[in-house]
Amino acid sequence: MIIRLSLSSLNSRRLATALTVLSLALSVALLLGVEQVRTGVRESFSNTISGTDLIVGTRVGQLQLILFTVFGIGSTPANISYDTLEKYREHPAVEWAVPFSLGDSHRGFRVVGTTEEYFEKYRYRRDRGIRLAEGTVPKRILDATVGHQVARELDYQVGQKIIITHGISGAPGISDHDDSPFTIVGILDRTATPIDRTVYITLEGMEAIHEDGPPTLSTGPPPTATAVQEPANPSVEDRAGPPAESITAFFVGVKSRIDTLRLQREINTDESEPLQAIIPGVALAELWRGIDMADTALKAVVALVVLVGLLGMLISLLSTLNERRREMAILRALGARPKIIAILLVIEAGLLSVAGVLLGLLLNYGLLAGAQPIVERAFGLALPIRAPNQFELMALLFVIVAGVLAGLVPAFRAYRNALSDGLAMKV
């Protein structure tokens, strides 16, 4: 009965009710949205690389190593020798080791030199491997396989020839390796990781750029223009010797996880060359902690938004209170206790909060469903549509509880009015 009264009363103030619910709903939707983006970012961030147990590079610090190997951010440090990779490939604890070379770019996108094994071993988002949308991974010296975003933004097709620029400058120009046009042989599937913004070539190809000539030739003086008109593009297997003198880093998969720490220590204390081995998960977690500050600020802002939504409801309830004194007097005359009148207002606040939360959920998931593909395309950020997590459920519960508590304020005033007004119609 009381609930029906509340509902009818709210219904009679439809516009104010709708606005109150809407403002609550918006703040709830924002709360959920921020949390979804936050966990989405964190998730896709910490899942940028998985399945790799160690990343080995020169001693530049854990953060820098993870930044340039996984995210393609920051300047490329000194190389390590290829022999080191060979050495650890033979290490009894190592299952696989994949080289990774940086230093060049193609129209603002990073160029990575690596081997076929990289495409087999690299994992992101737990167990997803790199897949080809079309074509193949680079197998010959002047082969290039481009990430999804590279192909899309530059409108590249398989078979097209591209020029690799030395250095990481954005604009093409100053030091284009004009003499070594690469051929796109494959385009990778979308991964929503930095892989999408990477051009992959073979280690030999990378070496070739820096040899300033077709790789099969000697390291003599720069060849003449005629020599490069039809560059040969032999398969990497045809080439003798190591594919490169040095590499930027290498990724290691161990045979047994238990060996990871021991191997890390062993690499870190290797006396033949200053090396550093990092565990990607640990490095990512450290990196995330650095970003977490912004995260906390965001949370505070959202908390304020929710608070404003609740205050809006409180104001709306309080402002109707005076015009509803008549209603209260009628209920009193009909035998309603002052307590009932107070409860009526608390119930109204509760109904508004619940409606706000439900509508907020609806809004949020509606927007999420609509924005998901757009966000994924624009930012490479995967926002999974998932059930609210525990934190979100707690937050929603908090909104409802806080809403009911806010209802206590007008309820208390109504209670006092009911006692002092009695049956007098104070309008």
Partner: protein
């Protein structure tokens, strides 16, 4: 439980003293030695504005608590009851009609009439399972049958007062209290309204305490009482 005037007293007020607020020294609003309403009686209480009419009704209805004295309704001394019990007692035994704005504007006429049945077990059990039928019958008697589904706020003042009467009467409360219910009506409608109210009170066997500052209607009542005559507090008048 029985009043000493036999079982015929619906209201029995003795040595009533009332003032607002809790302070002991506050000036009295009501000081009444005796005030009686017999069963089935229709009493007109006259008094100019500010003489304590509405206050007296509040005391009789159990909303206001007297400082001293006895307020017996149907033999039950309200001063012995807790505030909550007085509220229940009012819901069960008293139908109240305000001067105006009697209805919850967002409920239909039917729902407005049915409110007391929803709020009081005693009145619910008296109408039994026929609450809707009873409400409809009352509405028909009061000429409201075509407006049952209209919202309270959509009615004319006259219609609103008739709905208020139906609401006061449903579930057969023993006492109907009306606080100037006709003051918002024009003269013709006042008489018509009163006739309907009397009819329904008779049919339900309810006693009527009717308060007004307008004496033109007093001839229609069994008994007329001037509040200033029995209230020993004169300063307000």
């Amino acid at each position: 439980m029985t009043a000493d005037n036999g079982d015929t007293a619906v209201i029995e007020v003795r040595d009533l003293k009332f003032h607002y607020g809790r302070k002991a020294g506050a000036s009295l609003v009501l000081d009444i030695e005796e005030f009686l309403l017999k069963k089935g009686e229709r009493m007109f209480v006259y008094g100019p504005s500010g003489c304590g009419k509405t206050t007296l009704l509040g005391v009789v209805a159990g909303v206001l608590e007297p400082v001293d004295g006895i307020v017996r309704i149907l033999g039950q001394d309200l001063t012995e009851l807790s505030a909550a019990r007085r509220d229940t007692f009012r819901a069960d035994h008293i139908g109240y009609i305000f001067q105006m704005f009697n209805l919850l504007p967002y409920l239909s006429v039917l729902d407005n009439i049915l409110l007391p049945v929803a709020m009081s077990k005693a009145r619910r059990s008296r109408v039994g399972s026929q609450a809707k039928a009873a409400a409809t019958t009352l509405a028909e008697h009061l000429g409201l049958e075509s407006r049952l589904d209209a919202l309270g706020g959509e009615l004319s003042v006259g219609q609103q007062q008739r709905v208020a009467a139906a609401r006061a009467l449903i579930g057969g409360p023993e006492l109907i209290i009306a606080d100037e219910p006709t003051s918002a009506l024009d003269t013709d409608r006042r008489t018509a309204f009163l006739e309907l109210l009397f009819e329904e009170c008779n049919a339900a066997g309810a006693s009527l305490l009717f308060v007004s500052h307008d004496r033109t209607l007093e001839s229609m009542f069994d008994r007329v009482l001037e509040l200033p005559d029995i209230n020993r507090v004169k300063t307000l008048a």
